[in-house]
Symmetry: C2
DNA sequence: TTAAATTCTGGCCATGCGGCCAGAAGACAG
DNA sequence: CTGTCTTCTGGCCGCATGGCCAGAATTTAA
C-alpha cells in the first residue's frame, strides 16, 4: 500500500505527504502540550487533525517515529532561532544575556512546542526503562556554555568557578523560568529574564573588574 | 468486606493495616523511580510487594489516593529533614548554604523518593487535564526562601534583587543538581553543592560588604 | 472451640491503547 | 475513459490498565 523507501534510494516525498506530516506534527505538539504525555494518544492527535487514526500510521512508522520527528523539528527550530541572536557579543556576560533574551523571545511564540518537548523528555523511555532523552541530550548546550565561561575566565572577565555547574544551573534557571510562566501566564517574562541576566552576571564576573579601585 | 470509616469517627487502623500501607507506598516509590510514571501500574507495584493486586485496592481507595499518600509521605519526610538543619544560621548566606547542604544530604539517602516525587509532579493531572501538583505546590518553599532573602536585603547583607526570581532559581538549581546526579551517579554532589552555594553567594551579596575598602 | 472481623486471592470487566489491514476514495498520467 | 498509484477510512486485533467482587484464608475475640 505504501511506497516506503524506493529501490533507487530517492525519497520522492510528495507535496501532500510533507503537508500531512507537518500537520500531524503540529497537532501532536498541541496535544502533548495541552493534555500531557500520558493522555496523548494517536487517536486524540488524529481527532485534532480531523483525520482518521490510520493516516498517522500511514505517514509515520509508529508513535516512536512521530515523537522523534517532533523532537528533531523543535530542536532544530529553537537552535536556528537562538544562535544567530548570540553572535557579535564580545563579552561572555553579554553573550549570556543575549542568550537568555533570545530564549525568552522564543518562549513567547512557541509555548506549545517547548511544553511538548518537556513532556517528551520527561516521559519517553527506551524498552529497558531508561529515559530516551535524558540529561545527556543537553550535552551540546552544556558544552557550548561551558566553552563560553572558560573563555571568559581566561580573559579575566569572569571569576574562577566550575563551568559545568554554572552551565547546568543556567539551563535550569531558564527552564524553570519557562515553567513558572506557564503556571502564571501574567508573570513578567522580560523582567524575569533581566533578573536572571543580572543574577548570573553577579555570580560569574571577576571580583575586581578592571578600573575598580583595589586594595 | 471493608470496615471503612466507622460511625464513631474513629479510624482504628490496625497495626497490620499500617504496615501494609507503608509497604505498598515503599514499593510504589521504587516502581515510580525505576520504571517511570507511565510504566508503573498497580499490578507492577503489587508484584514488587509480593502481594495480589487486590490488596492495594483494599488498603487504598484507588490509584489516586495511593499517589496522594506518597506525596504526603515524602513531602513530610524531606521537610522534617531539611528544616532543622537550617536553624541557628545567623546570615541569609549561611542559611542558604545550610539549606543546599541539607538537601544534598537528603538526596543521597532518598534518591528513589525524590525521583518518584518528580515523576508524580510531572505527570499526574486532574480530570480536566491540568497538572495536579503544579508549580503552585512549591509556593511554601518559594515563600520561605523569599522571606530569607528579604531579611538579608533589609539587613544590608544582600544586594537588591527580585526575591521571587531568586527563590525560584535556587530551587531550579537544586532540582537540576539532583537530575544531573541521577544521570551521572559518579558526579561529585558535595562539590556541586559547594559550587551552588558560592554561586548564589556571589549572586546575592551586597556589592560592598562591610569592612571592604570602597571608593 | 466457635463465631466474627479482617485481610487476601484470583479472576472478571469495560475501557483505551498502538498497530495493522482490506478495501474505498481520490489524484493523475496515458 | 481507463488503469495505476497515492491517500484515506473504518474497523479489527491483542494487550495492558484500574476497578471491582465473591469467596477463601487468616487473625482476633468471645
Amino acid at each position: 500500500m505504501r511506497p516506503e523507501d524506493r529501490s533507487d534510494g530517492q525519497k520522492r516525498t510528495s507535496f501532500i505527504e510533507e503537508a500531512r506530516r507537518a500537520q500531524i506534527i503540529e497537532c501532536a505538539v498541541e496535544a502533548f502540550a495541552e493534555l500531557g504525555y500520558a493522555n496523548t494518544s494517536l487517536a486524540r492527535i488524529a481527532e485534532r487533525a480531523g483525520i482518521s487514526k490510520g493516516v498517522i500510521s500511514y505517514h509515520f512508522a509508529g508513535k516512536t517515529e512521530l515523537i522523534e520527528q517532533i523532537v528533531d523539528h523543535v530542536y532544530r527550530d529553537i537552535t536556528q532561532f537562538v544562535l544567530p541572536r548570540m553572535e557579535g557579543e564580545a563579552t561572555a556576560t553579554g553573550a549570556l544575556r543575549a542568550n537568555i533574551r533570545a530564549v525568552v523571545e522564543y518562549m513567547r511564540g512557541h509555548r506549545d512546542q517547548l511544553l511538548a518537548l518537556g513532556e517528551i523528555f520527561n516521559n519517553v523511555r527506551t524498552s529497558d526503562g531508561r529515559r530516551r532523552y535524558g540529561v545527556a541530550f543537553n550535552e551540546p548546550i552544556y558544552e557550548a556554555r561551558e566553552e563560553l565561561f572558560r573563555r571568559g575566565q581566561q580573559s579575566g572577565e569572569l571569576r574562577s568557578f566550575d563551568p559545568r555547574v554554572m552551565a547546568v544551573t543556567v539551563q535550569a534557571a531558564i527552564d524553570e523560568m519557562f515553567a513558572y510562566w506557564v503556571a502564571y501566564p501574567d508573570h513578567d517574562l522580560t523582567a524575569h529574564a533581566d533578573e536572571l541576566a543580572d543574577l548570573f552576571e553577579h555570580a560569574t564576573r571577576a571580583e575586581r573588574p578592571r578600573g575598580t579601585a583595589g586594595r
